[in-house]
Amino acid sequence: MNENLNRRRFLYLAGGATAAAATGAAAWAGLLREQVNGAPTLTLPGLTTTTTSMTPTTTTSLAPGQGPKNPVLVIVQMQGGNDGLNTLVPLNGRYQDLRPTLALGDHEMLDLSDAQDFALHPALAPLLPLWENNLLTGVTGIGIPGQGRSHFTASDSWHSGRTSPETTGWLGRWLDATANGPANPLRAVSLGGGAPILTAESQLSTIINSPRNFRLSTPPGSDSEAIVAAFLQTASPLSGDPTLAAAQMAIPSTLEAIEVLGVDSGVTADEPPEENYTSLLDTAAGLIDLDVGTEVIVVSVHGFDTHSDQRSRQEKLLANLAAGLASFHQRLEANGHADRVLIMTTSEFGRRVQENASGGTDHGTAGAQFIIGPNQGIIGQVDLDNLVDGDVPIAVDTRSMYATALDWLGGPTDEILGKKYDRLLDNLP
């Protein structure tokens, strides 16, 4: 009965504590030991400290700007289950009947030129220019058949791309399948929280809760260089115990990530410690600018579980989502990366069509997602006349979106998904 619990435990350990990864990490430890240097200052509450930012003394394969201009996939996870129906609104009479208080009025919705059947939630206005420039695709009625309404079973399916128990995430399997040469922990980076979709059998990814706090500090007057070097030394030789070894392996990969991200952070001590999703996307853009071989970035936005007070809550959530996506894309364009970055939103489920009495909606199945990349249109449908247990029926399999993403990254797509799914976009470069 605790299979789920244990499986969940494992899924959280994005990176996987296996012997195969240990070798790569140990090699790194040697590489990094020569690269540690001391430096400037910041203030922590109650204590003045010296920040240790590590400046590379030799050029490595990971030195900023030296990486290949590879395709990048950015996943924006709307945590909690976004209500697709009020995101990409079906222009059909039943919608307003079925949502007596939550339905958007005709005058509120944003028209999408060339799309007769759907309109956008007004808070998504910042996405309109992307639509006009043929860079926005909406996917609706999307879900995984059999995924369930539980946060956890739905999340497990969403993360693994399977409805049967699976310990790896769909992008984790891609990391494993395409591993080549020395491990690069910055190949896949999750910002703002864990990313079970990145859980792999052998490949490590980097999870950064808060880029602004992502640094090493040592007390004033202490020899930061010596302490950091000793910290690194605690990582080798690796213990035979997998848990202890995983704790050891986290050290060199963390130092590596700090070394690279520290270059660009430009953080001052005056900034508030609270991170928001927009600042996480700024970090994502910075990471792409650095060009250190990052291929996958996962950014989490929280709060979409709108069981109550959905109207005002979702409006704020979507406004934040759209503003962040729009400015992120502008920065990619300004820096010449837009053509090689595909952005996708995901969420564990859509919400029930019927409202509850709290002005919210309960968990449902099919939802709506966006893809920002070289395509325009609405894929999928919302059949409100044929609800399945009160839910929008699934018209597009989420794995089709995954397949599109994996194609963008260069595959091998069908091998990773275990089956050939239809692709959503067929004009990928």
């Binding site: 808060s210 202490s222 929280h302 069981h307 009495a357």
Partner: protein, 437 residues
């Protein structure tokens, strides 16, 4: 290995898996005491002459006067939560009843009510006091109390669930997360539970109390989990508490939490049997699980979460960090008591091996070492390079790993003698060894 050494290892395991470690004084007091005796004392302190400490949270509600200016409320609220955090962390560290605090935190993780949704600090404090009151008491009493607790009525929308449109949020999590697990109910059960639980609201005053409104309640008799005639909170909880999957679900979750990587699914029926036979009393269950752990001849390490890391670090070194800095440390490591990130609670401890937590741990270790008092035994051991004594003080009588030993030696040699103590203490707190229990 001597019996004494084995007993030290057992004691370190027990006090860290069902508590937050031992201060040097506690180590001295418990030296030579049989671990099973320590367990028995902690399960029932009163029978062993130790009074159960009063709730540390009482009086916190006074921070929010009844006639407050709403404009000042956010500031007052932040101050109240900061104070709550400080009091809570102090109690985790200094309590005379560690098992009670550990179990309270276990239930905080289980029910995962967050102050970010509850907002009102008085209601949150009452919730934590309620968890504490039942922490090692009877699970049925706990679940009944939580179901009508104003904090839960806010957290999972029970207060706005009415007959016309029941809100399923609590009904679902009651079954999935709090009692029997996802494979033991149907969507119809969720609807039945949600309907029968309609009609509860919160009456303001003194933090709020749950009141029932028959007008908002759906009294239709339904079948829940095979039990017929379910129509109100009592019949819902009877159906849930009598479900055959419940003892195994709760026992399995608690056992996994205590035994970590040594947990074996095959033990669940045995623990569930003990739990069910004692009418869902928790003390016999905790005892059975802990005894199974103590009986192991070798044990696998378990990653400790940030709250455990910080509490142990303060406790073992004697350092006292002010609340603002502790809040900052826990925030950077990704775990703040009172604010579980998800309805499923805090993530499993392996999550805290992530890059952010690793960096924050390094920085925090320096901060703690810097605050260790001059007479700290751990600081003295670090200054003289007595790594075995240092490891024992930090809760690892089995000593540091080869990697950490060589790192400590290297740092000692590379550091001017005046700084060796604090530098090496900082490093010892950053080691992977101190991150696992």
């Amino acid at each position: 290995m001597t019996n004494h050494h084995n007993a030290q290892i057992d004691l370190a395991w027990l006090t860290q898996r069902l508590g937050y470690g031992m201060s040097p004084d506690e180590q001295t007091n418990l030296d030579g005491v049989d671990p099973t005796t320590v367990l028995a004392r902690r399960l029932d302190p009163e029978s062993h002459g130790v009074a159960i400490p009063p709730s540390p949270f009482e009086g916190l509600g006074d921070l929010i006067p009844p006639d407050i200016d709403p404009d000042n409320f956010p500031a007052l609220r932040r101050a109240a939560y900061q104070q709550l955090l400080g009091i809570w962390l102090d109690e985790l560290r200094d309590t005379s009843d560690p098992l009670l605090e550990w179990m309270t935190f276990f239930w905080h993780d289980h029910f995962a009510v967050t102050s970010e949704v509850v907002l009102n600090p008085v209601i949150m404090v009452n919730h934590l006091s309620l968890l504490r009151q039942h922490a090692r008491g009877n699970f049925g009493d706990l679940l009944r109390a939580v179901t009508l607790d104003p904090a839960m009525l806010i957290f999972l929308d029970g207060r706005s669930s009415v007959a016309r449109q029941p809100n399923e949020n609590y009904g679902r999590e009651l079954l999935e997360l709090y009692s029997i697990g996802v494979e033991h109910y149907t969507e119809a059960d969720v609807v039945a539970a949600a309907s029968a639980l309609t009609g509860w609201q919160i009456q303001p005053g003194d933090g709020g109390t749950a009141v029932f409104s028959a007008r908002r309640h759906d009294d239709t008799h339904r079948t829940l989990l095979g039990a017929s005639g379910v129509h109100d909170v009592d019949t819902v909880l009877d159906a849930v508490l009598n479900h055959q999957a419940l003892p195994g679900f709760i026992a399995g979750k608690l056992a996994a939490s205590i035994l970590g990587n040594d947990f074996d699914e095959n033990q669940v029926p045995e623990f569930a049997h003990v739990f069910a036979n004692h009418n869902l009393d928790l003390a016999p269950l905790i005892s059975a699980i802990a005894e199974a752990g103590l009986a192991l001849t070798s044990r696998s390490p378990l990653v400790r979460h940030p709250v455990s890391w910080l509490t142990n670090a303060e406790k073992t070194t004697g350092a006292r960090i002010d609340t603002r800095a502790r809040a900052h440390i826990l925030h950077s490591m990704g775990m703040v008591p009172g604010r579980p990130p998800h309805v499923g609670g805090f993530p499993p401890p392996e999550n805290y091996l992530n890059a952010s937590s690793t960096a924050a741990r390094f920085t925090s270790a320096g901060l703690v070492a810097n605050q260790a008092p001059e007479d700290s035994l751990a600081l003295a051991a670090a200054s003289t390079g007595d790594w075995q004594t240092l490891a024992s003080l930090l809760g690892r009588p089995q000593g540091f790993s080869a990697a950490s030993l060589s790192a400590l030696d290297g740092l000692k040699d590379a550091t001017p003698s005046g700084q060796q103590g604090r530098n090496c203490l900082a490093l010892s707190l950053s080691t992977p060894d101190f991150l696992v229990i």
